[in-house]
Symmetry: none
Subunit: 211 residues, 4 copies
DNA sequence: TATGAATGAGTTTTCATTCAT
DNA sequence: CATGAATGAAAACTCATTCAT
């Protein structure tokens, strides 16, 4: 009797998911100033319906951001499990950072919108999941002697907050390479490989047309 | 004849300066989406006058950004001269980074506006001055063996572009500490020493207007 | 089910018609530079609603012009039918010209706005209807031997384009009298007869809103 | 002593003439909505100086129109004199009409501005000169039996007011051909020559790029 | 008298949000 | 519950006109 009655709760949930997907896509495509009408249209709804699910634009953006946090938490937890299964913590951390950085680049417009609207993600649960998983990863890395003992979860969040999301992929990779020595106990990878491909000297130059 | 000579040109220059100051202040206070009317009001002018000096909002923002670049160039050149006078390049670079980071934090709204409007700073001269001075500093540090040989001016700009401008001063200091190992040849301070040497923390300590 | 079916579409159509009427009236009253706010106010709407129906001022003006073209087409076709039913083509043409001239006088501001905005009427269908009907009228008149064989539809449009719309009704009537000999095969009425036969003077006599 | 003192009165007159020429040129080039700053710049003056000579834009436009009327008066009087010297009145009238029509086409933007601003030419003297000369021409033509006895000076002005100024030269020529039978006692020139070059059927179509 | 910086009301257009159907 | 028309405040920009120098 609870299963056949999918109509009410399920329909609402599905609509919500459709709106969130459309909102993220539209923001990525047309920037954070995309109008509510466009988002509604992309979700196959009327504005009124959109406002029924999210009382204000800030709420919608907050939900999109929360979804993003959820994905990060999932990713961190998966990395955790692989470490438990025997994978090297440093490798998992490095790969995890790389994935989050790329995701940030994809969703930078979302973050811009969140910031502009002062949207509060609010999803404390997902945030805690992510924090716990990242802490576990760091502890494992520190136990291995690979991660500096004073590196905290806050440091990782600080890095997430400063990803050069609007720069080309090569710049993001270089940025991660510059960051890693601050996290690890290892010296710079290989002092011999010069000439990394940071295209322009100006910030933001060449920001268009990337992956 | 001496009085009227300066009065016209000077009045225009002073008005321009007043507008730029007001624009920067208003953007810092109320975000980059501040209206032209507000800026004009803060400068004690009517909108029309503002538009006489800057034909479009993008021009005004570009001018504010150009002013910022000019200050960075001045700072970098001063550091250069101190190195020439015998100061250690690594110390000057570290202090310079700290100062630019604090300036970025103060003017973060300006940069947001510049990005949103696609404003072209245009001040290639100041940009070149800054680039040359930074290059000189890096070369000196590399000659001392303190800066990694593969670090470029582009790397420094990449860092500038990702300053956690909207974070508290302590976070910015920590962020710089995380970045430095990527630039220098020195290992992390001492694994047991919890007090990491944050160079620019002196002037960042009493910083106004943060969270 | 019968009520809601019409209500949505009908309301939109009625709003559109209300806007068009208000726009035409305001333009006739206050000139073609009338603001969108005024038009909205005259239609009992907010500006936003006006912009929902017509995305730009040029679109609104184009719609008003298209409505005018439609009326001319209707008029020409009606005259055509009367000719088919036995009415003399020359009389119908003369009366038709008189009516269009009076309509032009009423809507002169609209045409001025259309020209100023480069608005594209776009209603090719109505334009074709008008052209075909006028061509038919001319052919019938030429078959009767009343209309000069070299008169074309383009000539009629040329006259329409030069109607002295902002002159008193008497001047418009006199203007038509001066034009007619260029269209017909008949000589000027009678050199001594001071009362020249102005066809459209009946409906032009009581015309509203002129000098 | 009056000649060497050209400074005061003459300088003012020359400035005035320069402004008028610049105003006409700018209006013809950039339409009747050209700004006062542009006109001042084209005349090599500052706006303030322009406003010293013409207290309001309407006054400047009125002066430009008055200049136009003056030229028409000169033209009409010259034609008068040629008739007195033996030239055929009908020929002179026809040529005069053609010249005024072309001048109207050149200065159509001026007339548009005059109408939009409600500028009152005011130059009653030039207007009277023109009227008298035209009356003389018409009387001569009527004495010859070429011009219809009921044609008045007002008719000629009515034609001037409705010149298709924004149409191609061919359309203007055709328009004059359509008008002439209304003025003369002669039948249509040659009923045999069909196909006149009126380009588009729509009013205003093809209005760009003419002589 | 010439200058041109300053004025400020006015114009078009956008968009988050509401509410009658 | 969904719909989408209506709202109206706000933003960028223009331009005739004034006035201190």
């Amino acid at each position: 009797m609870s299963q056949p009655r999918t109509s009410r709760a399920d329909a609402a949930r599905r609509t919500r998911a459709r709106v969130l997907t459309a909102a993220r896509e539209q923001m990525v495509l047309h920037g954070p100033d995309i109008g509510m009408d466009e988002i509604a249209g992309a979700a196959g709804l009327a504005v009124g319906t959109l406002y029924r699910h999210f009382p204000a634009k800030a709420d919608l953006v907050a939900a999109v951001v929360a979804e993003y946090v959820e994905r990060v938490a999932d990713d961190a937890e998966a990395a955790c499990e692989r470490v438990t299964a025997g994978s090297r913590a440093l490798d998992e951390i490095t790969a995890f950072l790389g994935r989050v950085i790329e995701a940030s680049a994809r969703d930078r417009a979302v973050k811009a919108a969140a910031h502009a609207l002062g949207a509060d993600p609010g999803d404390k649960v997902a945030e805690d999941r992510a924090s716990r998983a990242v802490a576990t990863l760091l502890l494992a890395g520190q136990a291995d002697g690979d991660i500096h003992p004073d590196v905290t979860v806050g440091d990782i969040y600080l890095l997430f907050a400063t990803v050069p999301a609007d720069q080309p992929a090569a710049a993001r990779a270089r940025w991660l390479a510059l960051m890693l020595p601050g996290l690890t106990t290892h010296p710079r990878p290989t002092p011999r490989d010069r000439r990394h491909p940071v295209p322009g000297s100006r910030q933001g130059a060449g920001a268009k047309g990337e992956t």
